[in-house]
């Protein structure tokens, strides 16, 4: 596979600028989502404006199927596709530390490598810490997991990698906010943007759903995205609750099936099975015209990792009292570790960039529209 240039690809910005100029003279799409009303608040588009608009785009495809200027028309407008390219460009431009920015371009490969290495290290670590037999022994009761890896080690490893991901993402999104021309944020902007994020308001094409394989709107992508997003949050809540139980109450994992930690985990894990699987299927069936082939690896890798996280976690739950527990624990922890490590350099960041763009949209919604002389 040819390597892509590791610098700012201004031709993407120039092409997005050309297309937005056409859209701004047309405006037929202004009712479809937030991108087009945001566009109408300006007459010209800086690189930062374009990256803001690109991250406001939910890639629902409605504008592509509604547009009278899509290819073969000579104006060749294809907003979902150019914005998909521009989004990944904006992640790349804002990545922290800068050295890691190129990871975006090979994210699929990096994730696969990271996961493999992490899993191998966990298995190897377990073996190194104990005799190989302990890996395949049956461990039950509170603290069973920690017989393979001490709790402190787990906290240090996962707390460390989690903290790194948080810091890297916060710095990146702040860079994006500033370079794209953000500004001061009000509480109401955060709330309005939060609501739009939580409900995927702009993926519903004004209550008709989004377009996936053709001009027939469906609501499937939104449903699977909700499963994924809320599944992830529930799993996160489960882990957080377990941390509280462990440290404050001294209750050690594994927990009984009726413990809220397990219930949240099972519910979230189910969402993380259904959601990513559905999104992968939708992606497979997607009209190739509306997507960017450049970002496909990153998207598929992220979904696959989420799917593997939930599958290995649920399998661990079912088989935790069997000799398979040791290997499954290593597998699960390895996948989660790799997932966390690669968070700042893959598709995961899209949520934060989109939320930032929605905040700016809420903030700008008070501004006048350009060119309404009549």
């Amino acid at each position: 596979m040819p390597k892509k240039p590791m610098k700012l690809d201004t031709s993407i910005h120039a092409e997005a600028n050309r297309q937005m100029t056409i859209c701004n003279a047309c405006r037929y799409c202004e009712g479809l989502c937030a991108v087009f009303p945001a566009m109408t608040r300006r007459r010209t588009f800086s690189d930062g404006d374009l990256e803001y608009l690109a991250n406001l785009c939910h890639s629902c495809g409605a504008c592509y199927y509604a547009c009278q200027y899509v290819p073969p028309h000579e104006f060749a407008v294809n907003v979902p596709q150019i914005f998909a390219q521009l989004r990944s460009e904006s992640y790349y431009r804002s990545a922290w530390p800068r050295t890691f920015a190129p990871l975006f371009q090979r994210n699929g490969l990096i994730i696969a490598l990271a996961a493999t290495v992490a899993i191998a290290l966990f298995i190897g670590g377990f073996v190194a810490m104990h005799d190989p037999d302990a890996l395949f022994a049956v461990h039950t009761g509170p603290g069973a997991f920690y017989r393979l890896m001490p709790h402190e080690t787990m906290v240090a490893l996962f707390g460390g990698v989690f903290l790194f991901a948080v810091v890297a993402i916060v710095i990146s999104v702040r860079t994006f906010w500033r370079t794209s021309g953000g500004g001061t944020i009000g509480l109401s902007d955060l709330l309005i943007a939060g609501q739009a994020t939580a409900t995927l308001r702009y993926l519903d094409g004004q209550r008709g759903g989004c377009m996936n394989e053709d001009e027939q709107p469906t609501d499937r992508r939104r449903f699977y995205h909700h499963c994924t997003f809320y599944g992830f949050l529930l799993c996160f809540a489960s882990t957080s609750l377990a941390t509280v139980l462990h440290n404050l109450l001294g209750w050690h994992a594994p927990y009984a099936w009726y413990n809220p930690v397990v219930l949240l985990g099972v519910l979230g894990g189910s969402g993380l099975l259904i959601g990513p699987a559905g999104l992968l299927r939708a992606k497979q069936r997607r009209d190739p015209q509306v997507v960017s082939s450049d970002t496909r690896g990153m998207e598929v890798a992220f979904l696959a990792m989420l799917l593997l996280t939930s599958a290995s976690g649920l399998l661990l739950l079912v088989l935790r009292a069997t000799p398979a527990m040791g290997i499954l624990l290593a597998l699960h922890l390895g996948i989660v570790f790799a997932l966390f490590l690669t968070f700042p350099y893959g598709k995961f960041v899209h949520g934060f960039y989109r939320y930032a763009a929605l905040i700016r949209f809420a903030r700008e919604s008070k501004l006048p529209v350009a060119g309404t002389a009549d």
């Binding site: 003279a25 007459r43 199927y65 200027y69 000579e74 529209v369 060119g371």
Partner: protein, 470 residues
């Protein structure tokens, strides 16, 4: 199913054309139990005629609703129509169109079409016109999906090349697809294939050489071939063949299919000169849409069908963003050179205009008192001296939207023959018959209304006609 499989089936109704009117007819006929074949000249990606470029539909309503502020009573609609047509309308058909336009909002929604709340005020039509969510192509997508679900067959890149008509009765048609000709027999025929504005040779019959310089705003597939066939087969014509709806658009627009983005709305903010750098009409006469609709014809009558709108830095942000950037210069002479105008003459024209501007409060939202005194032609409103650099200019060309010549029909959308009798099984809908209602002028969104109303009537009539003994 292959093309020849589709062609080899029997159909109750053959519909020529694939725009809003054709689909309204197809859906209505299919719902009435008829089998329908739609023959569309364009490929799928470009289907839908000029409906692809439309955005809204003018509908009467007694009270506001989700998308329209209201009310817009039929009487007011009628007054609006009389004003733009100067009375050149078939009152019976026009009244029918306006009365029944009230049904369209519900009917289109039942076919899956969605409307959007009136938004930014790009056009001040929030009271009178229902806006399609996503525009005309989104409307077409919804209609095509519904038609397909009802079993309507659609064949693209296919043209009706001949019609077998005897004594006003349709028997069969020849349809050409990829060089092959297929005979299609159907119990009735609906002509919904648009006008002839994309047929420059035909336009030249009335406009001479000037037609070569026209830009066609809409689909390149409206070549009037079905209209020509009908007019050659004892069908009565209606409408002035010389009339076409022309607006002044950006002279750099594509020859065909430029659509809405080629609109230029800068005329009232400056002056417009011809290739001799001379003004020729009152740029401040009126607001959009009246001003918009007259300038195409004005430019068409200038030498080489070209004109240039000149504004200064104070005005450049006051109108809708344009698709092509304006030419820009720090002096009038420099700007003139960019358009190959005589710099001295443009300077003289601008200075004469500037000297004639009377001081006043500029307000582009009303008919303000900024006007000229002593200038020929005068500028009635929004006249401000062009003095603040940089100066900007846009080239203008006539952009043809549609033609008025069509086929005469009755209130059942039946085509009227030379003997004044309606055909029992030939119907027309859309631009091909819009001249019955719209003898001249234009009312934003009424084209879609006429197409929808007569499409539905034609579909109903064609479905019933198949049961009539012949």
């Amino acid at each position: 199913m292959t093309d020849s499989d589709i062609f080899n089936q029997p159909y109750d109704i053959l519909i020529a054309g694939g725009g809003n009117a054709a689909l309204c007819a197809a859906i209505t006929a299919a719902r009435a139990g008829a089998s329908v074949l739609v023959v569309e000249a364009a490929p799928k990606a470009m289907r839908g005629g000029n409906s692809r470029h439309t955005r809204n539909m003018r509908v009467a309503h007694d009270a506001g609703n989700d998308i329209l502020t209201g009310p817009y009573p039929v009487d007011e609609y009628w007054d609006d129509l009389l004003r733009v047509t100067g009375g050149q309308t078939d009152e019976q058909l026009a009244r029918l169109t306006l009365d029944r336009s009230k049904e369209l909002w519900d009917w289109h929604q039942q076919q899956g079409v969605r409307f959007q709340p009136s938004l930014s005020g790009t056009l001040s039509l929030g009271r009178t016109n229902a806006f399609f969510l996503g525009g005309g192509k989104a409307l077409l997508n919804a209609l095509y999906l519904t038609a397909a679900a009802l079993g309507v067959q659609v064949i693209y890149e296919a043209k009706v090349t001949d019609l077998n008509i005897t004594e006003g009765v349709f028997h069969s048609a020849q349809v050409q697809k990829e060089g092959e000709v297929f005979p299609i027999t159907a119990a009735s025929f609906v002509a919904a294939a648009g006008g002839f504005e994309a047929n420059i040779e035909w336009l030249s019959e009335y406009w001479g050489e000037a037609a070569q310089n026209f830009l066609i705003r809409g689909t390149p597939y409206n070549r009037g071939e079905v209209l020509r066939l009908l007019l050659n087969k004892q069908v009565q014509a209606i409408g002035d063949p010389k009339q076409c709806h022309a607006v002044a658009i950006d002279g750099r627009a594509p020859k065909f299919d430029g659509g809405i983005v080629t609109r230029l709305d800068c005329v009232p903010f400056g002056i417009v000169v011809n290739k001799h750098a001379e003004r020729f009409y009152d740029e401040g006469e009126d607001f959009w849409p009246k001003r918009y609709a007259i300038w195409g014809r004005l430019v068409a009558m200038q030498p080489e069908q070209v004109a240039y709108a000149i504004i200064d830095a104070r005005s450049v942000d006051l109108f809708m963003p344009s698709v092509y950037p304006p030419e820009q210069a720090n002096t009038i002479e420099e700007l003139a050179k960019k358009f190959t105008l005589d710099p001295q003459r443009l300077r003289t024209t601008v200075e004469a205009f500037n000297a004639a501007c009377r001081p006043g409060t500029f307000d582009h939202t009303v008919h303000d008192e900024c006007h000229t005194e002593g200038a020929t032609p005068p500028k009635s409103h929004w006249a401000r001296p062009i003095i603040t650099p940089p100066f900007y200019g846009y080239p203008l060309r006539p952009g043809i939207t549609f033609t008025y010549l069509g086929v005469k029909i009755d209130a059942e959308a039946r085509i009227i023959m030379h003997d004044n009798k309606p055909s029992p099984n030939m119907f027309a809908a859309g631009e091909i018959m819009a001249g019955n209602v719209l003898g001249k002028g234009y009312l934003a969104g009424i084209g879609m209304t006429i197409g929808s109303i007569f499409g539905r009537i034609a579909g109903q009539g064609a479905a019933q006609a198949k049961h009539r003994p012949e």
